[in-house]
Subunit: 431 residues, 2 copies
């Protein structure tokens, strides 16, 4: 049986999972593909660390160079994450004539364009299924399964940590701080949770989905980004009374000639499948011209789910290597109708708004007056009774309004003496 | 640019969609794959029928033979459906050295084993993405994206017509007959709706999913089959009061050494994503050892969604043909732990039960007594008040019980004079 040889760079959680799967599923995989996949070298800067898998010490090396320079290694699996030295390793692997599998969304979001072009020049491929939605085969679906489709939008819950925190707040009435602390204790959140809770990880993944659906790489700095650290338990509960859940959504939408790309907490109606996605799960919704509205759901993190995707990528590559040919991954083609990015103040949306007001007559009239002058139309309003409270919340849903007009109106409203805290506005997504 | 030549057999709804996509997406596809796909011949027994697409009359032929015998045609797309002559056409195509794309679930469910073996012998492939879930790329996901996984179960809503009918009953309080008539008027149901509403179409698709997940073909006659024609509006409403929707589920589950394969109306809790799948949509849930619990959702029917999948299959084949090589589709490997099929009377499940009783004292005690003797434990009970009614419904949810024990108990109960109609039992799925 033909043998394909793999080298790993990075022997952490996902790397150990990959080795475990290649070992335990050896028979299954060779029966399916008619090829034996063998791991020849594993590089990690700490080769003495205790891991939940034992490997022959001859496989281990502290130098990535040993993997990159080994002429017998066909596929380099990069799992160290981060920009450097991962980028350098991938470049060297391609130049040495090796195919690459990676889960590195941060790197591909930043330098994917350059790396994919280099791979083409080298007649090699970079596969990256594990970089979005862990074991959910979303990249294969967008690239191959939906190959004939043009896309109107792609959006979803792309970060398991944030979704876990929001779910605990919604289901168990936890504050953000308590839910975060619990997520950290359970290992779902890092000690420094910034990347996850501020939406950066979601944005990295969104850049890759946007590339696959619309054929262009968007810069992280051009994505409107709002995390979940300011989502209050009150807003979650008021939203629920109105029939919504609050989710951190990553959204890319085609709007005429522009592409609207953003990450922020969003009210999603209870009747939408995304509102039912709880815990560390992810879900990606795509709207396509032929296959219609699709949703892909599953765990967004986990050793074996990410490793499942890495192994699927390795198998895809072995199929080509077996035949000794280069079959380039399908190009994402730039949608010619899109000529620019949409600025956040251009978007039109429905909004949930919470005003914190002093408990005195005429407050609602003043707020409604300013909104009316700005041509912003109120869909529903609830004044929350808080006994003995000095500050009373007024919760509104407003009909479709331009972000720019809404922001201007809120600025005026927030200057009134009856407004006791900065008003909160959260976008609503109902498609 | 290299050219791959396609011939169609069957120029109905999906066939017209395929031609439309290959024409309108010509530029997109050739940019993605670097190959031009051209349709050389289209066979249909009625070539004079009016269609929503115009084709050069030179392309059309009334004889499938013209497609099968054309040495320039690389891929034969079979879209006539049914067993004969479709099976004969596919066999001849393979023997003539052509790859095959088909959406024919009835044929593959019956003769897939034979046809896939023949394809292997001929060094050709049969692709069939459109046969389950239309444009949802579920077959590619199971075969390639989840290649390293073993599966515990696969189940879902596989028939859009039935789901449309059940949704209209649940959302708009329609009777089954009214919902069916509406579905027929809208073109979602055939004049003879048997295949859809009696679960046969779902079973065909389930056979294919079972093959992909567990590596074995199950005979249609070995699948326990119950359609939706006996689902009453009352049961839908009572289930809703208990927090469930009724869905027609197709289920394949590994239970120790056996495989449990069945299609029947099922109570699904509101909190499960499947309960939110309405209208003609489909959704497939898989439980895998590595990637976890996944769900794939989208329209289960429609000209362009099915054609989207057919074109994706054609593109997959062109990738191999371009390189002039045979890359066989990945084998489904028989799960060695499974040695037999599970009989319906062996299964254990929770159940919803509705008894129709005479309105007199002691009825509930009699029913509960028989259940207790059979070791069947009641989780909840509601006696519905019906003013002036002679017959009173008693609705129960029972804890996990063996189907065999439950059937025996219901037989005894139904013989009592206080029971006025055959009791209704519907299985509950909560995973």
């Amino acid at each position: 049986m033909k043998k394909i040889t793999v080298g790993l760079i990075g022997f952490g959680t996902v790397g150990s999972g990959v080795v475990k799967i290649l070992r335990e599923k050896k028979k299954l995989l060779s029966e399916k593909i008619g090829i034996e996949i063998s791991v020849k070298k594993i590089a990690d800067k700490d080769i003495s660390a205790k891991r939940n898998i034992k490997v022959d010490s001859g496989l281990l090396t502290a130098k990535a160079q040993d993997v990159l320079d080994d002429p017998q290694i066909d596929i380099v699996v990069e799992l160290i994450g981060g920009i450097n030295p991962a980028k350098d390793f991938i470049i060297r692997a391609l130049k040495q004539g090796k195919n690459v599998v990676t889960a590195n969304k941060a790197l591909l979001a930043q330098d994917g364009k350059e790396l994919f072009a280099l791979a083409r020049d080298c007649n090699k491929n970079i596969y990256f299924e594990a970089s979005v939605g862990a074991g959910i085969p979303i990249i294969k679906a967008l690239r191959e399964g939906l190959v004939a489709n043009n896309f109107n939008d792609v959006f979803g819950i792309l970060n398991g940590t944030s979704n876990y925190i929001l779910s605990q707040m919604s289901d168990n009435n936890y504050t953000f701080q308590k839910a975060l602390a619990e997520a950290q204790a359970k290992g779902f959140a890092e000690k420094d949770p910034t990347l996850d809770i501020e939406g950066i990880d979601s944005a990295h993944k969104l850049i890759l989905l946007t590339y696959l659906c619309f054929g262009r790489f968007v810069d992280l700095k051009d994505i409107f980004l709002e995390g979940i650290s300011n989502v209050s338990l009150d807003d979650i509960n008021y939203a629920k009374e109105l029939g919504f859940e609050i989710k951190l959504l990553a959204i890319a939408k085609k709007e005429n000639d522009s592409l609207d790309v953003r990450v922020h907490p969003t009210l999603v109606p209870e009747s939408h499948l995304l509102s039912q996605v709880t815990g560390v799960n992810n879900a990606i919704h795509v709207s396509s011209d032929l296959a219609g509205e699709l949703l892909f759901y599953g765990p967004g993190a986990g050793q074996l789910s990410a490793a499942s995707a890495v192994v699927a990528d390795i198998v895809d590559l072995t199929q080509d290597l077996k035949a000794g040919l280069f079959r380039p991954t399908l190009n994402a083609v730039a949608d010619p109708a899109i000529t620019r990015l949409c600025r956040i103040d251009e978007i039109e949306s429905r909004y949930y708004i919470r005003f914190m007001t002093s408990d005195q007559p005429g407050v609602l009239a003043k707020i409604a007056g300013i909104l009316a002058k700005s041509n912003i139309s109120i869909a529903s309003v609830t004044q929350k009774e808080k006994r003995k409270a000095q500050v009373v919340p007024i919760v509104m849903v407003i009909h479709g309004a331009k972000e720019k007009d809404l922001r201007a109106a809120l600025n005026m409203i927030d200057k009134m003496s009856v407004i006791k805290q900065k008003s909160v506005a959260i976008r609503i997504e109902e498609e």
